[in-house]
Amino acid sequence: MPVVSSTIELQRLQRNGATFVREAHTDHVGKVRKVAYRAPVGADINATMLARVPSLEASNKSNELRTVYQRVVNGSDWATLRDSLAWNTVDELETFVLQRTANRLRRIDGILENSIIQNETHEVIAFPILFQSSGPRINTLLALGSVNDANTFKQRVQALAVGITEFDIEFMPTYEGVD
């Protein structure tokens, strides 16, 4: 879904010839994103504005994933957020969730054995989103039954994450007894 409208809502010529510019970019759900910058002397501010649109769309997409993830971790309702995605599909969101989870698991694996108790606390912090979530792959994960055991949990995430190409799901065996 694109940015549907881009306008220059403010331009002020400064004494050194630069122009203070504020752009307003409206997306397909009506959200307005304003960008401020100073254009150097001779710059084509309309071309700059239009050239910015692809990067805004890309960041809208990636930022929505991170924001939804963070909000669910912080206690917001998964289903509500999942059903109101503006820039991503549910599948893309699921991929992101699994990806984040795998990265968290990988970090936990890398911490010393004498910190395992603390690591389990980390897991509690890191993974509530999975237990609140629903989607084809996450449902598969939860349908497997209890995931209270950290090692089992990791193996299941690993299996579900097959095909996600952006990250490496391989866990690091840095302390005895894991993987």
Partner: protein
Amino acid sequence: MAFYYVKSGGTATGDAGRAASARTGSFATMGASAYYASMVDIIGGGAVPTTAAAAGDTICVSDLHSHDTIASTSYVFPDKLKALSVDDANAENLKAGASEGSSSTGSDTINLDNSAAETLVSHGIFWRADSVFNVGSIDGMSVLELGELKTTHTTKGVTFGEIGQVTILRDVRFKPSATGTGIEINDGATIELRGGSIDTGGPVPTSIFQTQSRGAHYYVRCFDASYAGGLYDLDDNTDGPSYDLARLKVGSGAQLSEQHTADIGPRFDLWGYGETTGGPDDYWAFHSRYFNFGTTDHDTSIYRDGGANVDGKQKLTALMSATDQVIPFHAPLRFKLAELLLDLTASVTITVELAQWDDTAGAPTRLKQDEFWLEIERPDATDLGLGVIDTTRPATYDISATQSDLTTSTVVWKKGSDDSTITADITKSKAAHTLPTITGADKSHVTVWACLAKDLSAVGDVNVDLEVDET
């Protein structure tokens, strides 16, 4: 407090690369059997030394050292362990240049980990990750000096810490490998950068300071961000991160800030920065965003004729752009107009002049007392420790009544690069606002806040200019 020695090619086994006190002289003199092949051997899971590194130990890495893990690796720092790049010829001297991490497979995560309430230290080491790069752990602290942080991940930059992590960086260079990468911090995390820069030559990062996390805080001084396309990039940001930036170099035409009128947004303050266009005026005093209430910019398009000096040094005019999120009387766009050192043993009057201006829409409706006011924080004459806040906001507020207009003023403003005097269009809209005379006990710092609580986007913005009368 043991010392461990590392250089590529090292063959030390057991505790052969470990010393009870710091060695002097060259690695060549030590011999390969007296140092380990990599930091992985010591804190990366290699477990080579018989005696594992413990809290407070030091790892001395030759500045000529280079190691590619060729695998995802976590370097786990015991509390206060120092990883130092040292001179290959004189191991007792610090010298930046050692390299650790992954740089060849394209998929290896590198973590620099510690535990809560613990501190890790790295000095002069060039860290590499060819995938995700994480530094620090929940509620821990990371201190990195000199050296370099590089990730080749396509969408993620270097991520500092987990929840509550504190990171202090001094003169560290970042090497982004993709336009989407930057310096990221997490929930409630704080990062402090003093000095440092972005390495040039690779992809230009769209924005360098990235966070989506609640309560995250950036404190940045003297950082060269001129290679980045922008300073920060947020969306759906209701989490209120804060940015306190000063003395930065930013790129020509770089995105300074953005705002989303539907979200709360961050508090963003950038003080004293230059752009790479060059020239004597290539210096700007401030760019500030106060949540979703709007932005304030150093502006030279309209300025006072013979107007105020701020801190007695430079004429400054601020362009305040409020949004429809501001609420009259209660929730203004706030901007710290000046921090002044004033002699309060004599009476001092502080005045702020306003100019509302629009090239096409004609004279705007003059602001009212609940739409613009001043606040001054100052020491009290009798209770020196506890300051007081003076304000011109009405002390009583009748919510059923229309407030009075601000006082009109006769000062002259000028516009644009040709110094033309603004006349008719602005006569009806300019207004002075004067605080009651303030006095105190001594020469003291006084902070002046300007508060604008009306969205003027339909008819232009507001320039404000400060005047202090110490007579």
